[in-house]
């Protein structure tokens, strides 16, 4: 393994360890025992088959939003709007699931297509604004987040009202990503076929980015838009395509959240998985397989925090704190890398002497 790859791996590992250490420090400062905290956190996420299933189900929407953010990053775009895209995509898929009565495979297929199209549409406009009018995508996707928020806020009670004013009807069994055989395999967890979709999406993204002309063009625009244009790549089109793919991924994430992990759609909340997707993409170094690993790691923390909170007096927000700290260390990893380089050079000069 080359030194560069090795250094990258070590830096990543050190980042995670530093984040966990910071979490321990916070627990200690607040007067809790970090060892028992982590013991219950990880047991809560991995103790038995059911909890592993729940962890994977928690990770599923994160895989999608992580892929979405990472994909846009590759083209030099910062997709802060994954939350709105997954909300709108998930809402449209839920609408289809609640309206049409088809066989399960046909209905799920229709919902998947709807989620992808709706998510892509919700991201295509900011992409087009960026390409055509130079509107910064960070601002436009934030606007689209809030537009999706209010759209769902008004449309759900109007057309799909459930037993509470703040949520939609439960989706029928035929429209749920949960299946009896998978639930039984994982002892009745939330586990659903959304995970299969997510794994397929990871493989698809990896293939697209590494093996196709389109992927090459998208990355080229991300490296240097002007150089890419000079080389004959249509940068504007690449930006729109990249955003649409990112939106489609986030839309699918929305479907796996509302029709797999949950059974209905809540109004008045932007799904937090949208912002967490940024963290997942960063930790995963914007590579599809890295995103998968990072999402599962976050899944462990998120599904374990409830158990930890029940068994100790540590507030569940420690999981978010750890993740946030890891992201900060990832942003400042230059410091670590310099340190590692110095160690490496020192070692080499000693060997040479």
């Amino acid at each position: 393994m080359s030194f560069h790859k090795q250094k990258e791996g070590i830096t990543l590992l050190a980042t995670i360890l530093l984040g966990l250490a910071a979490g321990a420090l916070f627990m200690m400062l607040a007067g809790h025992d970090p060892l028992s905290g982590y013991k219950f956190l990880f047991r809560g996420g991995l103790m038995n088959l059911e909890r592993v299933g729940n962890t994977l189900a928690t990770a599923t929407p994160l895989i999608f939003t992580g892929l979405s953010v990472a994909f846009a990053f590759k083209t030099g775009l910062f997709n802060i709007g994954a939350a709105g895209q997954m909300l709108f995509g998930g809402f449209c898929a839920t609408a289809v699931g609640l309206t049409w009565s088809l066989d399960k495979p046909a209905l799920l297929f229709a919902m998947t297509l709807t989620a992808m199209l709706a998510g892509a549409l919700w991201a295509a406009l900011p992409g087009w604004f960026k390409a055509r009018f130079n509107v910064h995508e960070v601002v436009s996707t934030i606007m689209f987040n809030w537009m999706a928020y209010w759209l769902v806020y008004y449309l759900v009670p109007l057309y799909f009202k459930g037993s509470f004013e703040t949520e939609s009807r439960n989706i029928p069994l035929a429209a749920s990503l949960r299946t009896p055989w998978l639930s039984q395999m994982f002892d009745g967890s939330y586990m659903n076929i959304g995970l299969v979709l997510a794994l397929a999406a990871v493989a698809f993204c990896a293939f697209l980015l590494q093996r196709t002309t389109l992927g090459f063009e998208l990355k080229a625009v991300g490296f240097n838009r002007f150089a890419a244009e000079y080389a004959g790549i249509h940068a504007g089109r690449s930006i729109v395509v990249s955003m649409m793919l990112a939106g489609a991924l986030a839309g699918l994430g929305g479907m796996t959240l509302y029709c797999g992990y949950a059974t209905n759609i809540q109004i008045g909340v932007l799904p937090s998985q949208g912002i967490d997707g940024i963290a997942v993409a960063l930790l995963g170094a914007n590579s599809p397989w890295g995103v998968l690993a990072a999402a599962i790691f976050f899944g462990v923390l998120y599904s374990g925090k409830g158990f930890m909170n029940a068994m100790t007096s540590i507030p569940p927000e420690i999981a978010d704190t750890i993740i946030a700290t890891i992201i900060y260390f990832a942003a400042t990893s230059v410091l670590l890398e310099k340190f590692l380089s110095r160690l490496w050079r020192k070692q080499q000069s000693e060997e040479g002497a």
Partner: protein, 314 residues
């Protein structure tokens, strides 16, 4: 219609002011060349520090305690912003990523600490009371609109706006700060310490965002609960919408303030109640998008904004 405008004006101003001060803070940072997406998180930190200070002292002190809370919020915001400054100025980290980390840390850490201290993540306080400016509130038209039912913080923020305008455009420090955001290497060649100016600018943005968060707390919200409802991001949009200029920002935030307030109080007014709520709610966002589409092509963000500065690199 006039009556409606009169009725909603105080609410619209109350909503505008924290946005305005936060966007102004962002202006300092971006004008010095550092993109600060962490405004939202810095507001949360300010709101938390303010709530903690006020809730602790409110039993034993009177009057001044709210101002003390605002001061604590500014100090906390400035301190917290050093995390962002260190990453993006000293380490040349990606500023967008660092800002995102700030947002995440602020949201999680404040609630974590709050829970440890109070048991719940919420902290309640008693905020400022509204008052009418003597004399001025009797002036026709304007008096009813802007001088009745105001918060003292409103006047503080307007004062800071005036001072900011003066500082940015009429002082040596302002010139240097803007130079760092346009041509840091030229500024460096002229003997200006780019790092120091940028650190200071980010600290100012932190203090102002912290103040913004604390103003939400001490005026219309009255409780800390770990969020500022996306106002930090909206301030960011107002900064871009306002073309990185103090008066532009004032216009953009007043627009947001009035548009959002209209949407919130539409039910009580027979004229507005006819418009569907959804239209009213998404109206400010759609207009902002339209304005951005119209003006972004010709907009002039600070040229070096988002670019790490390395001493000696050409």
């Amino acid at each position: 219609m006039w009556v409606v405008v009169q009725q909603i004006a105080p609410y619209a101003v109350a909503y505008t002011i924290p946005l305005l001060i936060t966007a102004l803070g962002g202006l300092y940072s971006e004008r010095s060349g550092v993109v600060n997406i962490g405004l939202e998180g810095l507001m949360v930190v300010g709101s938390f520090a303010g709530a903690l200070t006020i809730a602790t002292l409110q039993g034993t002190m009177h009057g001044e305690v709210l101002w003390l809370g605002l001061l604590a919020a500014m100090a906390a915001g400035a301190l917290f912003s050093f995390l962002h400054a260190f990453a993006s100025i000293s380490l040349n980290a990606n500023q967008v990523i660092s800002g995102t980390a700030i947002n995440m840390i602020a949201g999680a850490l404040t609630v974590f600490v709050g829970r440890n201290l109070t048991g719940s993540g919420n902290i309640q306080i008693v905020g400022f009371t509204r008052f009418s400016v003597p004399g001025l509130s009797d002036v026709p038209v304007v008096g009813k609109l802007f001088f009745t039912n105001t918060y003292p913080t409103t006047w503080l923020v307007l004062l800071i706006l005036l001072i900011s305008y003066y500082v940015l455009y009429k002082t040596v420090f302002g010139l240097r700060l803007r130079a760092c955001g346009e041509h840091p290497h030229a500024a460096d060649a002229a003997g200006i310490n780019v790092y120091r100016i940028r650190y200071l600018a980010v600290a100012i943005s932190g203090a102002m965002s912290g103040l913004g968060g604390a103003i939400i707390l001490t005026t219309y919200s009255g409780e800390f609960n770990g969020t500022v409802f996306g106002l930090g991001f909206l301030a960011l949009a107002a900064l871009i919408f306002g073309q990185w200029k103090p008066l532009g920002i004032l216009g953009a935030t007043v627009f947001f303030g009035f548009a959002s307030t209209v949407a919130n109080v539409a039910q009580v007014s027979p004229v507005l109640a006819q418009i569907p709520g959804l239209i009213l709610k998404i109206f400010p966002y759609v207009i902002t998008l339209l304005a951005l589409v119209l003006f972004s092509k010709s907009s002039q963000p600070p040229r070096a904004s988002g670019e790490p500065f390395e001493h000696g690199k050409r």
